[in-house]
Symmetry: C2
Subunit: 294 residues, 2 copies
């Protein structure tokens, strides 16, 4: 059973909010607490031997752990606020490693104007993999909130940056979440839907389409493939941490022109379009914790 | 290095909120978002082989994972709201185990009028311990908020329930967090300070005293020791998940009388008093992930 099917099965066993936005399904949960801003909630874990290697510098692990979560807030049009850090490590873990991890966490929090609100340390049995679990709140105004479930047939599909090779190039460890790009987008050319690409376009584009009740057509020739990578890597590697969005086609030309002026170093590429449900193409592959990589 | 010293060292490496209540140090972080109610944040992890055994029924593990967090909200005078569940398990974990875990999580959420807002599943390498990390929001009004750092010299110290033997009796798996008792307390006899006892009175009472800038005197003869346990177990076993509180001495008699009428089945015991900083006694022991149990 793949990860999405497992999650869908498990969440059926627990009570959820009457507001579906306040439950699982998007990059973050969206809680309307009645005040001006909406509360965003996100949790994300990194496991030694799965998301990072024993030889990965601890500071890079800490940066990545926070940056992954910041990327999710960006994808909602929001901003990160308060972070909780859980560190589960064996008793023999060198103190220097924990120090390095928290230095990386601290650097990423500072860069994104966020703070530590709490956390926990726990022991794992000797020989067990270290787990770093990050939970965080974010905030977004109702006007800026951008879901993954609101794309419409006819919308064009765009991605920031390039796809593939995140592990090969080391980008997965030192990427900058697209927070200012997303902020600019929702201010100037609000996407009809948006999410971040964490498990590969092959996994995440079908998720956006399914959530929106649409199909999609991918223009492979226009896909911004990372130099040195092939199409399979661009679609399946994952950990790109780029933004995937849908946009009304009438805005496309103005957007591309304004984007180039605002972010001359960051590619923005039209990669396809949304079509009606049951139409378009299928994609398979991408990162799946339990289904395995193809 | 013990757990508290480790945490103190690590949090120095990261940015924190200008409001110390919104940072580490109490049962929950307290965020004042400017609306009527304060936002509470908590994260807590359970590790296979540390917090539960392979043969523990999965549903009991799920109940305990949520109940531990509910206990922290209770200790602040607050209520649990939205939960995020991270499950990191090896790919070979039986689906029935995950189902059972989420059934237990669901049962505890329903019991405490809370909901799942999201979460994550991740793989750990084969042979690594499963980790269940729970993060949650809670809410509390400003008037009801009860910290661990506001006890005063002269206050009496009280605990609910009995101390010790949580592992022996199985209480650690099926305890009911003291949510309604805490609710009643803050409504009728608001403690000057409160926290839940998760690592044993020997660990948690000094934490309350240190946070409050006080000393304490413990009246061992009055300690409500669980039947079949001795004093060392009552002080050091941990996972009692009872409330430890300080109270103005003038309220003591009225409180004890009213409590007995409200909760005839739950002992409430005066176990000592707060004294000035540098006075009173020292306690050592209790559960420590990294310092080890005495």
């Amino acid at each position: 059973m793949g990860e999405d099917a497992l999650v869908a099965r498990l969440v059926e066993l627990v009570p959820r909010d009457s507001d579906p936005l306040a439950g699982p399904g998007d990059d973050c949960a969206v809680i309307d607490s009645g005040s001006g801003e909406l509360l965003l909630l996100k949790t994300d874990a990194m496991v030694a031997g799965v998301h990072f290697l024993p030889e990965t510098p601890a500071e890079a692990v800490g940066w990545k752990a926070v940056a992954r979560v910041v990327s999710d807030f960006a994808a909602m049009g929001g901003k990160p606020r308060h972070f909780l850090v859980t560190l589960a490590v064996s008793a023999g873990t060198p103190l220097e490693w924990a120090d390095g991890l928290y230095r990386g966490i601290g650097r990423c929090l500072r860069t994104h104007h966020s703070v530590l609100a709490g956390g926990e340390t726990s022991r794992v049995p000797e020989g067990s993999a270290a787990v770093i679990s990050i939970s965080a709140t974010g905030s977004v105004t109702r006007e800026r909130l951008t879901l993954r479930s609101t794309a419409k047939p006819g919308d064009v599909l765009l991605v920031t940056g390039t796809m593939g090779g995140s592990l090969l190039t080391g980008k997965h460890l030192d990427f900058s979440p697209r927070l200012k790009e997303a902020d600019w987008l929702v201010s100037n050319f609000k996407p009809t839907a948006m999410m971040d690409i964490s498990d590969g376009l092959a996994k995440d584009l079908p998720r956006l389409a399914l959530a929106s009740g649409c199909g999609f057509v991918l223009d492979r020739a226009s896909l911004p493939v990372t130099a040195g990578c092939d199409m399979a890597q661009a679609l399946g590697d994952g950990e790109d941490f780029e933004l995937l969005m849908s946009m009304e086609p009438a805005k496309q030309l103005d957007l591309l022109r304004a984007w180039q002026a605002a972010f001359p170093d960051v590619p923005l590429s039209v990669i396809g379009r949304m079509v009606g449900a049951g139409q378009g193409e299928q994609l398979s592959g991408g990162w799946d914790h339990f289904g395995g990589c193809p």
